[in-house]
Symmetry: C2
Subunit: 341 residues, 2 copies
């Protein structure tokens, strides 16, 4: 088969994929890559972390876990890497291969289609692992597991991972209007009581944009991941938190978001997906609860958040959130359960 025919086949294969195929391989649709690439907070942070740290990359062997369109591979090649290996199990990989070729990176970048746990790399060890593994609520979709697998199997002693640090935060918000629209809506739908759907909606974190003026308390870090050292088991975590009100207000929901750091190299880079930072496609994860808390400035909510993969599907998250509040105006406590899917 000629090279030209092979290229036609790659596009034809994607054209022949049906909506059912996308169910099984959502990353094979260009739309998801378009959203990620157009998230400039994300993509420019990776670009800065790679391109501006040429010293780190020059002459090195780099592995990109879940390479998608191959953009991080190309940044690494531009930063002077000697060899870049991109691994991805999606049907997008042959397209990424076309992109690598179109941009004349064939000599530097090798793409391999398959699961990280099953593929055979052309090298035994790599100097640098890069990956954009974060899902909603940071841990949804569980691709960090795969990065840790790659680290344990392929990273040279003294090697680095980019990003190398990720932190998960919780805060609490006033959100009466949107709670009415998203949760209490079900109490009266064209005059009908659909409150049984309200119960279902309450148990699912809502991925949406939180305005900074909705924040009522400080934030509290509930997990810091040192990607160089953390083990898979530690991603199933339980953390206490304490949130102190910055003003008198009502609280309708807890909100979780994450920050990412590329601390290695001369020019550290970080970005936040929090409500005070610029919009990212990860938005924030909003967890509503029954009723609300009436809090006064300086009062505190204490609680515990417990997060683990969902039994029936490891990419889903099971989140338990217990909280206690004893304020001057009211007392409240609850044991909440959420399922992120």
């Amino acid at each position: 088969m000629t090279e030209a025919n092979k290229n036609v086949d790659v596009l034809e294969k994607i054209n022949q994929m049906s909506s059912a195929d996308y169910y099984f391989d959502s990353y094979s649709h260009f739309g998801i890559h378009e959203e990620m690439l157009k998230d400039e907070v994300r993509t420019l942070a990776y670009r800065r972390a790679i391109i501006n740290n040429r010293k780190l990359f020059e002459g090195k062997v780099v592995l990109d876990v879940g390479c998608g369109t191959g953009i991080l591979c190309m940044f690494a090649a531009q930063a002077g890497a000697k060899m870049v290996i991109g691994v991805d199990n999606s049907e997008m990989l042959p397209i990424a291969q076309k992109i690598i070729t179109a941009n004349n990176f064939d000599k530097t970048i090798t793409l391999i289609k398959g699961k990280m746990e099953e593929v055979v790399l052309p090298v035994e060890k790599v100097d640098i692992i890069i990956s954009e593994w974060m899902g909603y609520f940071m841990l949804y979709e569980g691709m960090l597991d795969t990065v840790l697998y790659a680290r344990d199997k392929y990273l040279s002693p003294g090697g680095v991972i980019l990003p190398d640090r990720a932190s998960l935060y919780i805060t609490a918000i006033e959100d009466q209007d949107y709670k009415e629209e998203k949760i209490n809506y079900w109490n009266n739908v064209y005059g009908f009581d659909m409150s049984c759907i309200r119960e279902i909606a309450l148990k699912e974190p809502l991925v949406d944009v939180v305005q900074p003026n909705m924040i009522v308390t400080n934030d509290c870090c509930i997990l810091t991941v040192d990607i160089m050292t953390i083990t898979k088991d530690e991603l199933k975590f339980r953390s206490d938190f304490k949130l102190k009100a910055l003003r008198d207000d009502l609280i309708h929901a807890f909100v979780v978001y994450f920050d990412i750091e590329f601390s290695k190299g001369d020019k550290p880079v970080c970005f936040s997906t929090g409500p005070k930072a610029k919009y990212t496609h990860w938005k924030q994860s909003i967890m509503y609860f029954e009723d609300h808390i009436k809090i006064q400035q300086g009062e505190t909510i204490t609680g515990t958040l417990d997060c683990s993969p969902f039994d029936r599907n490891q990419r889903d998250l099971k989140i338990k959130l217990d909280f206690d509040f004893a304020g001057e105006l009211m007392k409240s406590s609850a044991s909440l359960e959420y399922h992120m899917r």
Copy 2:
């Protein structure tokens, strides 16, 4: 098992569903019903067509094909139907049953979980079939087939279907800015050539909002469906069209949308999903093509649109669009193929 325990089980079953389950049964997630219910153009049109035509419904037996949350069933019951049967194959059905009970419609409304082609109804014939079967591009997802099956098997002679008429239209638009953002974007992504993705994006109708001021030509009806009489085979159609420019402009895309009519009963109702009508969740289907047409007022584009289910997945659509243009400033013709999935 007590009634209370049964109710707990229904919600627990939904809570236990994972993201993988939603892949197979997207209508089991409340989010899709929220979007449809909150589309007031859609839901209020159905409500008007049913509630305001009490004479049509009073004392009748009604079948709702794909009943979802059961809202159309409840409208029919409110309009005086003697018996309403709702059929749906989604895990949403037990939730709909809870809604029916919560609103005291148990005596009138019977819900049955299963495929329309397989379920056993408690009656041999029905007087009225109601259904909200429309997908993007009207025919995407192919639920109209199921309505026609129900019609042929269950509708009494003299019975009616709501809606009973659907029309598909084509028009042409100037859309330079958005084409840059959605199609030509791939030519230069952070300095990289990803034009192979552009080729893929060009072959997929984009479901998005078209502003009325983008319309350059008149519109042309390419399909009228009389739901009382059309056969499944006629949904695989081929239509000629002719579009006349209303002004001098460039044309970057063809746009397809549909209108729906409830013409039976004393008070006919209709709504449009076209760019000049109020927003609906169906938006419009935009089909870009390579380059553009430079047209002058009064000049015409002639063409043929061919639409059929996609071989590998009958809910997908294969759309072929041939056009010819011979204007004073330029000539252009193309044979385009799209895959809606």
